[in-house]
Symmetry: C2
């Protein structure tokens, strides 16, 4: 970083790789509520959701910009905590907060842009999946949706798995190192699960011009989450990846060894059209991209 915060713009000396650019916003009342989320959590998450997009390209996050919109309802202490959360996430994922912008509005919004680097031509897109390849996800799904359900519900006793789910919602994990391992093990397409497996797998298949067979019973469900939350809950930020069948075992071992994170095969890329889901019973149904509930209503018919 040659010039950081305080000038017209930040100036950086990059490496020799390709650049990866992404932006994502957290808007009050839509992505968070000041009643349930601390400013530290909001700041932390605003960085991580962008880091996750960079990770999903198999790139390394380097620099962050933050455009803040503040209201009269937040005081200086709230903003300092927000910045503290951003700094915490930047430290954890080894990126620099190099610049920002401050505006006044009628709702708080935290818009972050992150720039990452990747070796030339080595970014992993959504469009490289080929017929016969295996569909895998990291860790387990549905935790953030379960956390949101628990946070939104009126006071109830919350067990350990529920607390873990809430923590996953407020302090998500970006799979930066894990994505790097998958890239070294021949991943052909990758994205992060921000909108839910059902809709995101559909997107990956559309981008790759293929279909998919999803084995519902193999989808790893996070502790405290329901199968429905695992299939359609958003904001898990786990990686959805396709690999040649022969590469899955090696990738899974490496991921377990280096990060203690599971890689689970949940289906196969097909010629299509569309994404179909199968259950243990072997029945096959089209998977609507808006997920489980519609799927169940299809089953019920």
């Amino acid at each position: 970083v040659r010039v950081g915060i305080g000038d017209d713009a930040a100036v950086l000396a990059p490496g020799s790789g390709d650049l990866v650019l992404t932006t994502d916003a957290l808007v009050e009342g839509v992505h968070f509520s000041r009643a349930t989320a601390s400013p530290r959590e909001v700041g932390y998450k605003a960085i991580v959701v962008n880091v996750s997009d960079v990770a999903a390209m198999a790139a390394s996050p380097r620099w962050a910009l933050c455009a803040l919109t503040l209201t009269d309802a937040v005081d200086a202490a709230w903003v300092m905590e927000l910045l503290g959360g951003m700094r915490e996430a930047c430290d954890e994922y080894a990126l620099w907060l190099v610049g920002g912008n401050l505006a006044r509005g009628s709702e708080v919004a935290v818009t972050v842009a992150v720039t990452g680097e990747v070796a030339p031509g080595r970014a992993v897109t959504r469009s490289g999946a080929a017929v016969g390849e295996r569909i895998c996800v990291t860790d387990a799904l549905g935790a953030a949706a379960a956390g949101l359900r628990l946070v939104s519900a009126p006071a109830r006793s919350v067990d350990a798995s529920g607390r873990a789910a809430i923590s996953r919602l407020s302090r998500p994990v970006a799979r930066v190192g894990e994505a790097g391992i998958l890239a070294r093990h021949g991943v052909t397409a990758m994205m992060d699960l921000s909108d839910g497996l059902a809709s995101d797998l559909t997107r990956l298949c559309e981008a790759s011009g293929v279909g998919a067979r999803l084995e519902l019973d193999r989808v790893p469900v996070a502790p405290g989450a329901t199968p429905s939350e695992a299939l359609s809950g958003g904001e898990d930020y786990e990686l959805l990846a396709t690999l040649p069948a022969a590469s899955v075992e090696g990738a899974a071992s490496a991921l377990q060894r280096e990060f203690g994170v599971a890689l689970t095969e949940i289906g196969e890329i097909t010629r299509g059209p569309g994404v179909v889901a199968t259950t243990l019973g072997g029945r096959e149904r089209p998977l609507p991209s808006d997920g489980w509930d519609h799927f169940r209503s299809t089953i019920a018919r």
Copy 2:
């Protein structure tokens, strides 16, 4: 651009220069009103204000990201026009809109991040001004403030200079090529005038650890603007630059020849402390960073 809009992130193959990163937001009700600004103007301006920050580092804009917050009050046609304005500005300044994000909120906000490139170590900051150097500005000041006054006033007849002022407010100009010429003519510090000459000159001096003597009568006032608007009006996006005395004439000639834009010497960098302003009468007064009106009240005392 290896990967554009539609994947987790954009992927770009940069040149060998330093990177310049900036972000700036236009928020409804603060930076624009949907009643007086067309969506095309909002989109165009959202890009240009960021390009101007990159230009002020003597860098070339390359790639833009846009995070949009939309409300139910805007329809698809409004959004298409907004994107049209962004694309128009991107075409004009030769940069690529490579990615974005869409969120729903209670007010429209357009947050843009622009990445530029500059030869290694050649970015021009605010902090390089030295005692004895001359303070210069491009073109003339106060047009945007005059435009805002005319737009805000109840229906009146507006003459040609008024129309030009309004147009400067809604379609600002980023001085990209001009900044490049100044850089080749030995500019030592530079910034774009977004908050007004009085406050921005104070900032440049603080960053450089110097003071300044501003000759009020030499400040170029845009047609239709008042001297007060030229001194404290924001959003002109003209360049404020310091140069060695011997370089001013050459830089001004080149700017006139290549862009038909004037470069006017308006003062000198001093040891300080602070920025003082002098009038033709030769009286010297401290220049409050919030500008002309406070200055006048100081004079009156």
